[in-house]
């Protein structure tokens, strides 16, 4: 194991990379995806306990036979999570390309 003081190589010019347009573009692109994605899934998720707690009559309404809105909404959370994860994977491969370009330029 190595101690903390050796974690970064002194030769790397972090500041210079941080000030390149390419790096700023990467950060902006990430924020454009991640911030709305996090807000969306948080709102979608917390809508469930909030509605279950404060609108119990609505959530008790049966839609398919005895299956009520509460159960269907809970079930939909699984698909919501998978879809958001899938969209992130697509976006992230774009971020990987951007990061790779920054690193290739940095090593020259």
């Amino acid at each position: 194991m190595q101690p903390d003081s050796q974690q970064q190589s002194p030769a790397t010019d972090w500041d210079r990379i941080a000030h390149t347009d390419a790096f700023k573009d990467l950060m902006a692109a990430k924020a454009r995806f991640i911030v709305p994605a996090v807000l969306f899934f948080m709102v979608y998720y917390f809508a469930l306990p909030v509605l279950v707690g404060y609108a119990p009559d609505l959530m008790r309404r049966e839609v398919i036979g005895p299956v009520n809105i509460a159960y269907l909404f809970a079930l939909s959370q699984f698909f919501m999570a998978w879809i958001v994860a899938g969209l992130y994977m697509r976006a992230a491969s774009r971020f990987d390309d951007m990061a790779k370009k920054i690193l290739d330029r940095g090593s020259k």
Binding site: L26, M42, R60, A81, M89, G106
Partner: protein, 531 residues
């Protein structure tokens, strides 16, 4: 009954075989603590799923759904959606900036000794909470399964403890990872079979199944188990549900034994792929808890379960009802395997934290210690942690629902760990004092609220059995079972006030740029070891 015993022994033999194989593979610290960072994406994904689907998921959630219907399913939903926090916010920066533990990320910018010491305390607390739940599950399970064979709850707990120490001491992270993979595959297979049997019981008709679920006989009355609110009742039920949701969503990204898994892969991209694999497996599993829990409620019945092993035994009893004694033994062995694997993972992360954070960086001021010394310290920690967990689980006894106990571990993780992880990644001004205060207020706040909650405090009538009595006989000081809604903001506020009260830390701010570049590009991150 020798079938269950045989099955136990077969699984134990397989896992010990893996451990021996792994002990010949690993050499050096990176191999012991991070499996050489050579685990692939899908392997790590299955291992994350294995680490995560604990006794709480298989025994606990099935039990809560069987007893309290829909409200139990809220655990299933939260446990999966939580991985979006891990995927979108934590996994990649953590992999790129850390080495062996969660504290690496904090120590990157901040003064290493105080933050590592606090983070290690928090890691050990969360792991112990989590472990107690697993031990309680194992104890009840074995006591029920081997009834009459002389193996009691206490013996079962001790056995689990000894095995988990063996995996970690001899096999390290590589053995732990493979034990998780084997267990995850078994657990998925068993749960799938059991779900099919439940649907078959209702003549392969989901309509018939849900009809039964909406007409469960409970205490002489017909109750619709699909209706929310059977567990979380007014006046505080809604708040308790939101509080639980917060702890689940934010707690997963602060669980030390899940976070360490992202150091076993070669890079951030693989860490991301492994989260997605884990989400696929975990989500499928939690959807199936519908069949386990509601199946137990409709086919076995709450009254029978309560008399034969209690709430945590709903899934195994369902298996016995549908598939007979052999299937019961099979499902119980899987549950036991699940517990063993999770406990090994927890011990591993606790040992790593102690060796890397406390021994090397706090006691030896970050001076590099020999690989052999670090691994030795980790092995000794595994012994100590094992002994402590065995003792607490025996003292506590088999009363609490294990999903509920794990929910509390999530609350502690969400309150203490997540705020400081997020702030050290995203907040330039963050200081050492802020991290220490955040960890301390989150940890102490969540623990204090748990003690003051209705699960610990309450006045029992004279008819309540001794084992079921509240630990403190007084009116609860805090009305919610789940502390998250108060303790998570406390963690953030503690970190914020601690930071604002301290002077601007130039080193921390300068290193923030470095951390940002490294977290987002992977430049300078820990590499996989060569073959």
């Amino acid at each position: 009954m020798s079938a269950p015993l045989t099955m136990f022994l077969v699984f134990i033999a397989i896992t010990l075989g893996i451990t021996m194989w792994a002990s010949r593979q690993s050499s050096g610290a990176s191999a012991f603590f991070a499996a050489g960072r050579r685990i692939t994406g899908w392997q790590n994904g299955i291992a994350v799923a294995g680490d995560y689907m604990s006794a709480a998921s298989f025994l606990g959630i099935a039990g809560i759904i069987a007893f309290q219907g829909y409200d139990g399913f809220m655990y299933s939903v939260g446990f999966l959606v939580a991985y979006l926090t891990v995927l979108l916010i934590v996994a990649e920066p953590l992999r790129n900036t850390g080495k062996y533990t969660m504290a690496d990320v904090l120590a990157y910018r901040l003064s290493p000794r105080p933050v590592r010491a606090m983070a290690a305390i928090s890691t050990l607390t969360v792991s112990t909470f989590y472990m107690i739940a697993q031990m309680v599950g194992a104890g009840t399970l074995v006591a029920l399964l081997l009834k009459g064979s002389g193996i009691t709850y206490n013996w079962a707990v001790t056995m689990v403890g000894i095995l988990m120490v063996a995996y970690v001491v001899f096999g390290g992270m590589l053995a732990t990872t493979w034990v998780q993979i084997v267990k995850a595959v078994l657990l998925m297979g068993g749960t799938f079979l059991l779900s099919i049997l439940v649907i078959a019981h209702f003549h392969f008709s989901l309509g018939e199944f849900f009809d039964a679920v909406s007409h469960v006989t409970d205490g002489g009355k017909v109750v619709n188990f699909l209706t929310p609110g059977l567990r979380y009742k007014p006046p505080y039920g809604a708040l308790d549900l939101i509080s639980l949701g917060l702890a689940l969503i934010l707690g997963t990204a602060g669980l030390p034994h899940i976070l360490v898994r992202f150091y076993t892969v070669p890079d951030a991209k693989t860490a991301r792929v492994s989260v997605v694999w884990a989400m696929g497996i975990i989500g499928t599993f939690y959807i199936m808890t519908t069949f386990l829990g509601f199946g137990a409620a409709t086919i076995v019945g709450k009254a029978y379960i309560a008399k034969n092993g209690g709430i945590n035994m709903s899934a195994p009893l369902l298996a016995r009802n549908l598939g007979g004694d052999m299937f019961f033994a099979f499902i119980s062995s899987i549950a036991f395997a699940t517990i063993l694997a999770v406990v090994a993972g927890l011990t591993m992360s606790a040992s790593t934290s102690f060796a890397h954070d406390v021994y090397e960086n706090v006691i030896h001021h970050g001076k590099q210690q020999s690989h052999a010394d670090c691994v030795l310290v980790a092995r000794i920690t595994a012994f100590v942690v094992g002994a402590v967990a065995i003792t607490i689980a025996i003292v506590l006894g088999p009363t609490f629902n294990v999903a509920f106990l794990v929910g509390l571990a999530f609350a502690v993780a969400a309150s203490a760990n997540l705020p400081v992880i997020m702030l050290s990644i995203f907040w330039k001004r963050f200081t050492t004092e802020g991290a220490v205060w955040g960890l301390a207020t989150g940890l102490i706040g969540s623990l204090a609220l748990i003690v003051a909650s209705p699960s610990i405090m309450g006045i029992d009538g004279p008819t309540v059995a001794l084992a079921a009595r509240h630990l403190i006989q007084a009116k609860p000081l805090f009305p919610l079972e789940n502390p998250g809604i108060v303790s998570i903001p406390l963690g953030f506020i503690g970190a914020f006030i601690g930071t604002m009260m301290s002077r601007v830390d130039d080193n921390s701010e300068a290193k923030f740029t470095e951390l940002e570049v490294r977290a987002n590009t992977g430049l300078g991150s820990e590499q996989a070891t060569a073959h």
